[in-house]
Symmetry: C2
Subunit: 346 residues, 2 copies
């Protein structure tokens, strides 16, 4: 399958503005690259950071991809042309000390495609660097559409729950967790958290999202009601773990309020502003906190198991499958919280 | 030994103002109380929070005490009159779920003596509540003066290092730690950290303190030099662990700067203000943080071992042994960072 000279792609052209354009198709640039013919490219909550931002424009968006390898660099050993693959949303070398420690999201030469320095996957073809240590094979027993969730949001949702558990130093399925934010990652966090905590609450400022949160296993309530119910169920102590999946300072302030003394706050929200935290509360509650991006490779096998065991639940997860030509329309709806998970089918 | 009707005590009388006064001696109020004849009462960095503060005045200061039991409440079972004891700086019941989980510093009925609701130990006599689950016997092989360090600062210094290790999920003696703050607790943190990390750096805005930090085992440098040296030794990555022993927002900002990606920040500083943290850095570095007060009972046996193995080092730790009548003078010097550890001998 020869790669054509040009292809259709979703290009960021300004604040809240994407164009579907004909652009040059990618070529192998490094022996560790592969070219993927994109089957599905997700629209992810973190795409909105760039979509809403003021970064330099003019690059192809997207970092969630399932597709088929159509070209391989000379150093690629674990994958071959024709393989159906899924890519982690961030590339990693697999060899540096960070990768060896399991911190693949912080590989010094890793990147997240879909930014000025590296074209993304919302396109017909996609160049993926460091293929051997970034790709996963698509297994036979899980539909490609579900596998797309494994690129970012399901491992991220799993990791925010698992990190809470590891922070607390406990592994019994016990206690009360609260998930703040019921978007796609939040729902993945909820399903994951139900395997680790006895009770999982969830909340979101956008009330229609609470229905999906209930389907995923949470006691989903508006914040004021949740505070009351949480207090009732914990003798006024608060949650053992709060999972922050929003990435806004106000969500962290809420998290601190909901956490019990000696509780933990695990955050996977993409923070970009200053977060003003109440120092007295941090001290008086002896809080532990974790921030940051999910190292997909490290959490992958566990997150895949969550997906495998919840295929029916997640089968309705992708609400919209649309063409690249509909990018602006669906970016707009997604940015306005009007739709849940959307996928482009080139 | 009968307790007299009145006694000498150090009473907080206003901002930066303590008086040595004749006050009523304490009496048993609860069956779990004991009355201790004070041999040594420490002046602790955290006393300065009240000394500098605007809280209601008029109470006896101090929460570090070694002494002899002279009266026991009817429910006290583990200790008897005549026992030489050391008290944890915060009382705990030993029975609630927090105490059982090892979070004795957050026992709902626990308190830190030396505040409006409970008189402190800088006095001739001291009433200690919840004696059975708050006191420790003074062992024969360690001088009382050294044992005083076990009331707060040595367990606190140990815990800030141990918590960093637990946050990181690693227990090998490896990697680089930085201690921010070289006051008494900082020195305890340094000695503890040298048993857990290959290299321990330390810094303090008050340069004369760096000498003591060196004696305790750190590479102690002014901040700018430390940043350079740390960067050189870690390929620009930063410290695996930063121990924050100051309790000021600026120390947390420095800690975040010094930590490596996926590093940990362990704080035992008593924070009371809003801490403005760079959300982008928290996310981009995948940081883990821990705050709060040391649960002395939980860390006690380990911290005692650090003391036992470093008796000579700590033997010069208490710089000044003074009478209660000299309280104002030594509070002033201590508040101005002019002296290190001081102890009152009633």
């Amino acid at each position: 399958m020869a790669v054509p000279k040009t292809m259709k792609a979703v290009v960021l052209r300004g604040r809240l503005k994407v164009n579907t354009e004909e652009v040059p198709a990618p070529e192998i640039r490094d022996p560790r690259d592969v070219i993927i013919k994109v089957s599905l490219a997700g629209l992810c909550g973190s795409d909105l950071h760039q979509y809403r931002g003021e970064e330099p424009y003019g690059f192809v968006m997207g970092h969630e991809v399932v597709g088929e390898i159509v070209e391989t660099g000379s150093a690629v050993k674990k994958f071959k042309i024709g393989d159906k693959v899924l890519s982690s949303f961030c590339t990693s070398c697999g060899e540096c000390s960070n990768c060896q420690a399991g911190w693949t999201a912080r590989c010094p030469i890793g990147t997240v495609p879909g930014q000025p320095s590296i074209a993304g996957a919302q396109a017909e073809y996609f160049r993926l660097p460091l293929a051997d240590s970034t790709l996963f094979p698509v297994p036979d027993d899980i539909p490609a559409e579900l596998m797309l969730l494994m690129a970012d949001i399901l491992p991220t949702g799993f990791s925010v729950a698992m990190n809470a558990r590891m922070l607390s130093g406990k592994i019994e399925t016990k206690g009360v967790a609260v998930v703040i934010g019921c978007g796609p990652v939040g729902l993945c966090a909820i399903t994951s958290a139900t395997t680790m905590y006895e009770t999982v609450f969830a909340t979101d400022l956008y009330i229609p999202r609470l229905e999906a949160a209930k389907r995923h296993g949470a006691i989903a309530l508006p914040l004021a009601d949740l505070e009351e119910e949480l207090s009732k169920r914990t003798d006024g102590q608060g949650a053992d773990a709060v999972l922050e999946v929003v990435g806004h300072p106000s969500a962290m302030v809420t998290a601190m309020k909901l956490a019990r003394p000696c509780g933990v706050i695990s955050s996977c929200g993409v923070h970009s502003r200053e977060i003003g935290l109440d120092g007295e509360m941090l001290y008086d509650k002896n809080l532990r906190l974790q921030f940051g991006r999910c190292s997909v490779r490290t959490y992958y096998p566990y997150a895949l198991e969550i997906l495998r065991q919840n295929q029916e639940l997640f089968s309705t997860f992708i609400e919209h499958k649309v063409s690249l030509d509909q990018a602006q329309e669906y970016y707009t709806l997604f940015e306005q919280n009007k739709i849940a998970k959307t996928v482009f089918v080139p």
